[in-house]
């Protein structure tokens, strides 16, 4: 069973807060799911990172296009106001976010 510390570490990596009361059930649920999906250990290979070339083309293809500016015809043209209206905290046209770079104290 995965440990309490592992659950807390996973939550931190996943940017999730977990309640104290949830930790035990998460340990249990994640462990039982991992035990089930662990069946894949019988599969040969997979120990080196698989590249896109090894997959069937129907599943994974990289598709590139030139990075050219498109004037008009853009899906989001004239949508600035709609996007701004979704801001959680808006001042004028700005989205207010928390200050992350601070002077050394």
């Amino acid at each position: 069973m995965i440990s309490r510390e592992e659950v807390l570490k996973l939550a931190e990596l996943a940017r999730l807060k977990v309640e104290e009361a949830e930790v035990e059930s998460l340990q249990k649920d994640i462990s039982s799911i991992l035990a089930y999906v662990g069946q894949v250990s019988v599969v040969a290979g997979g120990n080196t990172s698989t590249t896109a070339e090894e997959l069937p083309p129907a599943l994974v293809r990289n598709i590139m296009r030139a990075d050219t500016p498109r004037a008009g015809g853009d899906l989001m043209a004239d949508k600035e106001e709609v996007l701004r209206s979704a801001f959680p905290t808006r001042v004028g046209d700005h989205n207010v976010v928390r200050k992350i770079i601070q002077k050394d104290e």
Binding site: L10, A11, V37, L75
Partner: protein, 468 residues
């Protein structure tokens, strides 16, 4: 005129074209059924207030000479598909008041055809679940027995069609989320070839797996919706056109992977499955035993790959630009707080699972192995489909269960045992009703699933029609 809402799309379309009925009458019939049933079935998260007005505009378009088969047909739209200017929440507190800023490509195509959007259908939160019980706004109920689940994640879409609250619906299918609720509700549900329908405007869950698919009363209706929404789209680089895969010559053979049917399937479900096979035989198809040696691993692969992709896709919900935004002690705490309150337990569980299988030290053991096995599985299916037109299995091992019956997440995942393969391999698949089984005095529908080669939707529909 009564019970217009019980017509199939093809029937309604003929009546509309002949001028026997109007879209307003058809839409009103659905709305009055919604008024009767939605309070108890919880099918729709929102019924669009302008549905009648949309129908009136469709009638005007017809009067002006337009004639698409979907013109004036009321459809339910799963709550993770964007319609510009309307709320779209993925049945999550995270997006409870979010308004779509553009139309999904599938929606745009339906608007051009002239479909009426009657409301946004309930679903499992962010399409994660097989019962619709993970909706942040309460489970949808099965019209055949309201004490039972609709299946999921497109549960509201399936119940809307089965309960005659809409004539058809759009859902999304990442591991069976169209086909499984279609089977539980006794209707037809289809997962197109990977890329056949643009995902622009569909909220992403597992990007190598997701497809938008139709839910309908008949195979013909599902085909009509699919033909309308399919097509290559510059806004989805994974989209393909009808000519991407070569046309195939019918072999009149159906493959049955009997090695997958030996255990875990309820006896009367299996009896219906055998009866459906007989039907195919009498329609001139030869039944062939096939082996898909990696298929028993499919569910394990799926529950590695899907959470890995979902945890990455859902990283965008951090409360900074849109959605639920809560304040904590620091920026990182803002994220964690917003995501804890915004996401329900199953979504958080899958995000953590995805984070685990992608983390250094476990990546090779889980994700690396899963990707390698996925390739093998895809090759096995491709090989089998060189010999046969379609592979058949039951859609689910059992009929709809009662609400709250499956509290263990793994028990819930096992429902997807037959459906995930098509998502992993990218093949198109269809669930068609194959009769009902009795449970606690109620007749509950079960479905048969057909899987065909990439791009071979014509065969999917033609074999599907034999099973109706």
């Amino acid at each position: 005129m009564s019970n217009l809402n019980e017509l199939t799309i093809v029937e309604a379309s003929k009546k509309l074209a002949a001028g026997e009925i109007t879209s307003v009458q058809l839409t009103e019939a659905c709305l009055s059924e919604i008024e009767k049933k939605n309070p108890s079935l919880n099918t729709f998260l929102e019924v669009f207030a302008d549905a009648r007005e949309q129908a009136r505009v469709c009638d005007e378009r017809r009067a002006a000479g337009e004639s698409h088969p979907l013109l004036g047909i009321p459809l339910a739209i799963k709550d993770n598909i964007l319609i510009e200017g309307r709320k779209v929440s993925a049945a999550s507190k995270m997006l409870e008041n979010y308004v779509a800023s553009y139309d999904a490509t599938a929606i745009q195509k339906l608007k051009i055809a002239g479909a009426v959007f009657i409301g946004r259908a309930n679903m499992d939160e962010f399409a994660m679940g097989g019962s619709n019980e993970n909706s942040a706004f309460g489970a949808a109920k099965n019209p055949h027995d309201p004490s039972r689940v609709t299946g999921g994640s497109s549960g509201g879409s399936a119940a809307a069609v089965a309960g005659h609250l809409a004539l058809g619906a759009l859902g999304s299918d990442t591991g069976g989320s169209v086909r499984e609720p279609a089977a539980f509700c006794g209707i037809v549900g289809m997962k197109p070839t990977y890329g056949a329908v643009s995902r622009s405007g569909l909220m992403a869950m597992g990007s190598s797996l997701d497809q938008i698919g139709p839910l309908a009363k008949t195979v013909e209706d599902a085909q009509l919706i699919f033909e309308t929404i399919r097509g290559k789209d510059s806004l989805d680089s994974t989209s393909i056109d009808a000519a991407t895969y070569p046309a195939r010559v019918a072999k009149k053979k159906i493959g049955v992977p009997r090695h997958l049917l030996k255990e875990g399937i309820e006896q009367d479900v299996l009896e219906h499955f055998e009866a459906a096979l007989k039907k195919l035989e009498s329609a001139g198809y030869a039944l062939v035993d096939i082996e898909l040696p990696s298929a028993p691993l499919a569910l394990a692969l799926y529950y590695i790959i899907m959470p890995a992709e979902a945890s990455s896709n859902l990283a965008r919900f951090d409360g900074v630009r849109y959605g639920l935004s809560l304040k904590g002690d620091s920026l990182i705490d803002d994220y964690a707080h917003s995501r804890k309150e915004g996401f329900g337990p199953e979504v958080r569980r899958r995000i953590m699972l995805g984070t685990y299988v992608l983390s250094a030290g476990y990546y090779d053991a889980y994700y690396g192995k899963a990707i390698a096995a996925r390739k093998v599985l895809a090759e096995e299916c491709a090989r089998a489909l060189q010999e046969v037109d379609a592979i058949v299995t039951p859609t689910t091992p059992s009929p709809a269960f009662t609400l709250g019956e499956k509290s263990d997440p793994l028990a819930m995942y096992l429902l997807d045992i037959f459906t995930v393969t098509a998502n992993l391999t990218g093949n198109p698949a269809l669930s068609v009703p194959m009769g009902t089984v009795a449970r606690d005095g109620k007749e509950l529908p079960v479905g048969i699933q057909l899987t065909v080669a990439h791009g071979d939707e014509p065969t999917l529909f033609s074999v599907g029609r034999e099973l109706q």
